[in-house]
């Protein structure tokens, strides 16, 4: 655990970058520091590994004041990832990753083996190992940066806007990669970003800092979205808070109806009398094909002869209520088709079912 105990950073000219910050970063979780520029988030991060020393207060790393540890020794035990990756251009990728193991005096073979293992782990082709940083794309370099930070297996990882210099598609894949890695490694991660969406996506807990280096709110993302502490946090969270909050609500509570799906080979006469205006048509393997409008059915034939309307699906148990709602809005029926991991229909979440689930969420805000 990392504990900030009344930490202040004041520069010689009187500027206060961090003001009386007290918070705890729990072991094995991702804690995100987020806020506008000038809020002291990067300064706070850099005080942990003593790239900057606090003016007042203490930062305790598993109970030990970091100021009592010689900075290079401290830093070798903490992974550090920065925005532009900061790879050493004169060293091959494998040697970049092995930087800290080399410093710690591991033998060359062991350090390189470890580096190769990590390159694989962060999803890089091992052909990259013998290349130089300039031969890699920005996203690949950032993966190497993460591998390098993990090389000596430090319990703590500091990440300073690591994904903000890459394009949105690469950023999304790096974020997902980080969550996947974290599920395996359970590091104590402090992650700095100015992007609230990134904070909400990655953080187990999010610390919102305001200009002048004061903590505005520290909470898990659903709580932050549901109950921002004040106007500053509310404004910083931006629009669509309610909708975004649905991302954290599981779809498990959503009632499904299995009687609304019908096989494409069924004869129109068997469904004509149905008491519904839309039916979800599925193929022989139970995969959704589209919606059939009951009142527009032809006189004869099977459902294969019917022109089907577009549909949306969500993966039951994996997507959130937001995913289900999104799927419903993509269908003329206003209902969402629930599928399993293989894409086979499990049932239909009707407007009534969605309404019921949303009602529960809205009720939860007041609590």
């Amino acid at each position: 655990m990392i504990k900030f105990d009344r930490v202040t950073k004041r520069y010689a000219d009187g500027t206060v970058a961090v003001d009386d910050l007290s918070l705890e970063v729990p072991t094995g979780e991702i804690t995100v520091f987020v806020g506008p520029s000038g809020c002291g988030k990067t300064t706070s991060l850099r005080m942990i590994n003593r790239m900057i020393d606090a003016t007042e207060g203490q930062i305790l790393l598993d109970g030990v004041d970091v100021k009592t540890i010689d900075p290079p020794t401290l830093r070798r035990g903490i992974g550090y990832v920065i925005q532009q990756a900061g790879l050493f251009p004169h060293r091959k990728i494998v040697d970049n990753v092995a930087t800290v193991p080399y410093l710690l005096g591991w033998d060359r073979k062991k350090a390189r083996d470890r580096a190769m293992e990590l390159l694989e782990r962060v999803g890089l082709d091992l052909k990259m190992a013998d290349r130089y940083p300039f031969q890699l794309s920005g996203g690949q370099q950032q993966r190497v940066g993460v591998a390098r930070a993990l090389a000596a297996d430090p319990p703590v990882l500091l990440m300073d806007e690591p994904f903000s210099a890459v394009d949105p598609i690469v950023r999304t894949s790096l974020q997902e990669e980080l969550l996947r890695l974290q599920a395996e490694l359970n590091k104590t991660i402090v992650f700095v970003t100015h992007d609230i969406d990134e904070a909400i996506k990655l953080g187990d807990r999010v610390a919102v800092l305001r200009v002048g280096g004061r903590l505005a709110q520290l909470a898990d993302p659903p709580t932050l979205l549901a109950r921002p502490a004040d106007d500053f946090v509310r404004e910083f969270l931006g629009r669509d808070r309610g909708i975004r909050r649905l991302s954290f609500v599981s779809d498990e509570g959503l009632r499904l109806r299995a009687d609304l799906t019908v096989s494409v080979s069924a004869d129109v006469s068997t469904v004509r009398g149905a008491d519904e205006s839309w039916l979800a048509v599925v193929d022989g393997e139970n995969r959704p094909l589209g919606w059939a409008s009951v009142k527009d059915l032809p006189e004869t034939g099977t459902l294969a002869d019917v022109r089907l309307a577009p549909y949306g699906t969500f993966v039951r148990g994996r997507d959130s209520l937001r995913g289900a709602l999104d799927a419903a809005l993509l269908s003329p029926s206003g209902s969402a088709i629930a599928v399993d991991e293989e894409g086979r229909a499990e049932g239909v979440a009707t407007r009534e079912a969605l309404d019921e689930a949303l009602g529960k969420v809205a009720g939860g805000v007041g609590a």
Binding site: P72, Y80, I82, G86, H90, T99
Partner: protein
């Protein structure tokens, strides 16, 4: 004297073709060795002064203004004037009077390029190096110097070429080196001798240039020079 192209080529043949010019204390081999001695010693001394100073200033950022100002002042010194002054003060007899102006000539490019080379290293890289837990000296030796090496070598190359070319002035104060051929040739109107000396100096400068290109190729990481190593 025959003017025209053929005449000048004949001068070179006269000079280089004459066996007397290849032996004895005034022969090409001896003069070449003397020249290399002046140049090599000057360059070595200049490196001993300028490299540590440039590394220290570039790494710590301290004394940069002082170093740049004095380097520029040193650049403005007229080498020949300085040489004559030192000879007047110290007399001739040793090679020291010729070393001082040559060292003064070689220090500025080495110092300035070393300092600028280190200063030009991406601050993110420095930050990452410290953040990984490298100590100050490790940051310098393992990161800054390898990355700044092309510029450091450039400074050394400029210094070496200037020194090799300028070491001819030793002859003006009665010392040896390839300058002897030029000075003596001019004094006796023996133009083949002058031209021959000049060609030798030019060749030497060219060899130095090629030598540095080779050193650069061997010492600078392909990752820094961005040579493609893998297709």
């Amino acid at each position: 004297m025959v003017a025209g192209k053929g005449g000048r080529v004949n001068w070179l043949i006269d000079f280089f073709g004459n066996p007397d010019n290849w032996s004895g204390p005034d022969g090409i081999p001896v003069r070449l060795l003397e020249h290399l001695e002046f140049s090599g010693l000057s360059l070595l001394l200049a490196m001993l002064i300028a490299l540590p100073l440039g590394l220290w200033i570039g790494h710590t950022g301290k004394g940069a203004l002082f170093a740049i100002l004095s380097a520029n002042a040193a650049r403005a010194l007229p080498t020949l004037g300085l040489l004559v002054l030192i000879v007047l003060l110290m007399g001739v007899g040793t090679i020291v009077p010729v070393l001082i102006p040559l060292v003064a000539l070689a220090v500025p490019p080495i110092l300035v390029n070393t300092y600028e080379g280190l200063r030009g290293v991406d601050p993110d890289l420095r930050d990452a190096a410290y953040g990984m837990g490298l100590r100050g000296s490790e940051v310098l030796g393992r990161v800054l110097v390898p990355v700044a090496l092309p510029l450091i070598l450039l400074g050394l190359r400029i210094a070496a070429i200037q020194v090799v070319s300028t070491a001819t002035v030793a002859a003006y104060v009665g010392l040896g080196g390839l300058g002897r051929f030029i000075v003596d040739g001019l004094a006796t109107k023996d133009f083949p001798r002058t031209i021959g000396g000049a060609v030798l100096v030019a060749l030497l400068a060219l060899i130095v240039q090629l030598g540095f290109a080779l050193v650069q190729r061997v010492m600078v990481s392909p990752g820094v020079s961005q040579r493609q190593t893998i297709r």
